[in-house]
Symmetry: none
DNA sequence: TTGACATATGCTTATATGGGAATATATTTG
DNA sequence: CAAATATATTCCCATATAAGCATATGTCAA
């Protein structure tokens, strides 16, 4: 059993970088035809259709037919669970700015150590 | 080529529900031994170790040896990219209407007001 | 050293899924 | 109807990865 399906869990849906790019195009709230997204992202049309299909199934976008076009529109409210989840941790970088650098350095050190012994998987 | 590896992309790392549960345990900022997480989540120990391993590689947690225990601690700063990305869409649900719609209505209202006063042209 | 405890690390297997190419399904226009 | 345009869908393939189980590694205590 793997993780929840991309068409079910919004966290998984946005885990795909190309899907975040698609969302980025729709981020202004306006409607976009598939072809417009294709041009803007220089992405193959089937890929765009598929990603939009996933986003539609998970509810992040909605679609309406207009002529021979299908206009996709962001349904940003579906992203709220992600925001709610991550917002809890906001305090850690807004209140402890001084420690961010330190943590970054520690992390880099740990990576060096783990890379030195083990490897990626 | 599939999506970026879970050990590389924090979006992908948190796409796994069990990993979000693990993060949830560490959310208070304190250190936790693997066994504590195992007990709290009632999850098999190897699973917890593996998930913590992924989170460590992506930088979301750090680990320190203490005796026979390995203490894991949240490195919340690594979640900031997620927060930054999703925060852009916050306006869509904090305002009852989307910003664009709202602005259109505000303009319409301003017109009504100015027309009523007989100002402007 | 031995044994108990804590954690990590192989394995294998099942499955989801993204990409690419080709094709199917509308929809509009001539 | 035929052609053009827009979009979706299907098929195949490669790969990532999570689960489960067994086992290895590491550390402390007696």
């Amino acid at each position: 059993m793997a993780r929840a399906a991309t068409t079910t869990d919004v966290f998984n849906a946005i885990a795909e970088p190309r899907r975040r790019e698609v969302i980025g195009v729709l981020a202004d709230g306006r409607e976009y035809a598939v072809g417009e997204v294709v041009v803007r992202l220089k992405m193959p049309q089937p890929a765009v259709s598929k990603h939009l299909g996933v986003l539609r199934k998970v509810g992040v976008v909605s679609v309406i037919k207009r002529g021979q076009h299908r206009m996709y529109k962001l349904n940003a409210a579906e992203l709220k669970p992600v925001h709610d989840w991550v917002k809890v941790f906001e305090q850690y970088w807004t209140h402890q700015l001084g420690q961010i650098k330190e943590r970054a350095e520690r992390k880099a050190l740990e990576r060096l150590v783990s890379d030195a012994k083990g490897e990626e998987r």
